[in-house]
């Protein structure tokens, strides 16, 4: 059984009070409680404040490029689908630069668990608007306010029939921890959008702002009702739901790829003799 000490990583370089700290703590606690050891999973992250996440705990890590977490995670998962593969991205990372990959990861239903640290701002590059920034928010780079409509990742994911769609809040620790566990235990692709207050650059969506608005989705809510889920996903304003918005049980991509039905690709034996005997037969087809 791992302990929190086993998960102690590098010293974080996030600003004091950053919403990433509670996410890191919830993540570590959830993994310890699920009895998952650091060597048993891989985190693929991108670039942004969230990209540093895997360095601040202990795990196999591929800290790749901005926006490209999901393709790397998809390739790794297909190579070894017995390994838990977690993708960590930010709102700019996943909904901006990597938007196309999100759409197609959802379509594939690859068994990757995606956690988006959504602070509704660009932190690493110091305060420009992100796809989830609210309209009219003024930044140094958006002097007339944000003119594009705010992206709603939950509605987008429900529209694409994403097999697990949830939202958490860094300021609601136990709830977030539970959500992380539920997402990890879901067999298909999971998207968890986590409100992560940026105390330095986002003066609109503060801890107070979120705390006043978020509410736990009702116990009697049926997350398998897609139409109801779409309605839930559209809620924004004075009351914003957190919890599992939508889930379904459609088959995962790994389940549907016949060549890995028995063994993962990494476990399939490759020998020159085996290959040559197949090649001799294959080359005959060219005659």
């Amino acid at each position: 059984m791992p302990t929190l000490d086993d998960y102690k990583g590098q010293e974080p370089a996030w600003c004091p009070g950053c919403g990433n700290f509670p996410i890191l703590r919830a993540f570590k606690e959830a993994f310890v409680e699920m009895d998952i050891e650091p060597h048993q999973f891989l985190i693929v992250s991108g670039i942004g404040q969230s990209g540093k996440f895997p360095h601040y705990l202990k795990c196999n890590t591929f800290n790749g490029l901005h926006g490209r977490t999901l393709p790397v995670a998809t390739g790794a998962r297909l190579a070894n689908h017995e390994m838990l593969v977690v993708a960590v991205a930010g709102d700019g990372d996943c909904y901006g630069e990597g938007g196309n990959h999100l759409m197609h990861a959802i379509r594939r239903n690859i068994g990757v668990k995606l956690f988006v640290h959504d602070n509704q701002i660009y932190g690493l590059t110091k305060g420009q608007a992100s796809p989830t920034s609210m309209e009219e928010m003024v930044t140094k780079n958006q002097p007339f306010g944000v003119l594009s409509e705010q992206l709603n990742p939950m509605a987008l994911a429900v529209a694409l029939d994403c097999s697990f769609v949830a939202r958490g809040y860094a300021g609601d620790h136990e709830h977030l921890k539970g959500l992380i566990k539920t997402a990890v235990n879901h067999k298909g692709f999971s998207l968890v959008d986590i409100f992560q207050p940026c105390v330095t650059f986002n003066r609109v969506n503060t801890y107070a702002w979120y705390s006043q608005r978020v509410y736990h989705i009702e116990d009697d809510y049926n997350p398998e009702d897609r139409v109801a889920a779409f309605q839930k996903a559209l809620e924004w304003g004075d009351r914003i739901p957190i919890g599992v918005i939508y889930r379904n049980n459609r088959p995962t991509f790994e389940e549907r790829v016949p060549v890995i039905n028995e063994l993962t690709l990494v476990k399939q034996p490759v020998s020159i003799e085996g290959l040559k005997s197949k090649l001799r037969k294959t080359i005959k087809e060219f005659f």
């Binding site: 490029l65 998809t74 390739g75 998962r77 060549v259 060219f286």
Partner: protein
Amino acid sequence: MSRVRGGHNFYQMRVSDKEISASRGPVDILVALDSDSISSHSKELSAIGVVVYDSAALKEKHDGSQFFDVPLLDLALKNGGDKIMVNTVATGTVLGMLGLGTDIFLDILREILGKKGEAVLSANANAARAGHEFAGRECLRCEFSTPAIGTKKMLIGINEAVGLGALASGCKFYSAYPMTPSTGIMLYIASKAKEFEVIVEQAEDEIAAINMALGASFAGIRAMTGTSGGGFALMVEGLSLAAMTETPIVIALAQRPGPATGLPTRTEQGDLLFALHAGHGEFPRVIFAPGTPEQAFLLTNKAFDLAQKYQIPVFILIDQYLSDSQWTYDGFNLNKLTLTDWRATESELEGVKDYKRHFLTDHGISPFARPGTSRHLVVTDSDEHDEDGHLIEDAATRVQMVDKRLFRKMPLIRSEITPPVFYGNSRPDIILTGWGSTYGIMKEAVNILSETTKVAMLHFSEIFPFPSSQELDYLEILGKANMTIIVEQNASSQFARLMKTETGFEFTGKINRYDGRPFLVEELLGEISAYIG
């Protein structure tokens, strides 16, 4: 040209009992299924050339003994029952003109059409025989002599050969986005996915394609991607990621004329310096440019070996001409294949207490464990990192890591590179030099010119790191020749520029072609004789 809906298109075939490696200009038999074929190609007829056409179907009559009017449509309808069999009749006709039998053709029809049922097959067989008989009876001008049919040969194109080379190397993952002329590699591997247990994933774009392959490679299997110029432009960011994270990857880059969409279904060798310089930052890479399917098969195998051994990106540079031509062989020598698993095995890792993904070694290569298969953590970063794989900012570590990736590995990689092929006269006055797809055409030119001149060819298929001259002193050979001509299918002699940078050598003459068409034998000879005078 990509004419999915039909329209004027052509395919050229050359038959010989001697080894041939390129296309020639004069056409002996032109089968014209449309009027454009006559107007565009009849000027290419040889002295004994014949145009096969159907005056009734094309509604045009040509006089002259070089025109052989064959009622292709009528024979197809009467013997096959469907106008779609015009091509079957035409093939039968050509066999009749050449004095060859129809047995092999009928076997091929069975192979291709067998699954459509006996009715379709026998209709086609009748159509073939009708064309064959008509030619035997009516072609007065047919004086072709054909050699006896030899043993069966292998017929293979370069995309299939690259695909086969990947399978032969234990490639387990191929992700790509369809793009002419590289798509054939993906299609071939996909057709063998079940048998060789490979995942072939059509990615949403080329960016995803290279990143997926890198994810799969990092996780522990051999992975590859393939594309053409524009698609590779999108992959460049991922190339740099492969370099920084020291993740092995093989990239097939099938060139076509650019810039931008360019001439999508034509040929060019315009991306050598792009492949060489692509990616931000400084890092090692290997570039192979096979000139034949056989070279492609073996070089793809070598590409996988070097990629994994040195944890670097390796390119297979081909082009549309190679992608769309087919070569015959007696077979491929499987004994030349190599397969070594360069990843750190579980037993190698057993004694390791504190595993570091980017551990500094004398040779620059760090043991590469498979994440999730041992208790060791495998950590890497696109940021500059320390030996553990964690991101750093300090100057000393940065210098150590650049030295490791670039300066320690590079001499070792260079020692793996084999010298160019030297073919022809051993003390030549004239040397043709080229790389990649010009292998065949230069060889034919050397064979012909050898009757009157002391001529040779130097063909480079392992281009970067530039081969050393220790094993074959090509610089001395070039230095002793009176005339050295570089032949390239691009406008700016990219290889000549690379060679000057690497060796200081300058060719005395340059032949460039950048109209998107491959050289025909006569055309190259013409260009060379302009130099020889």
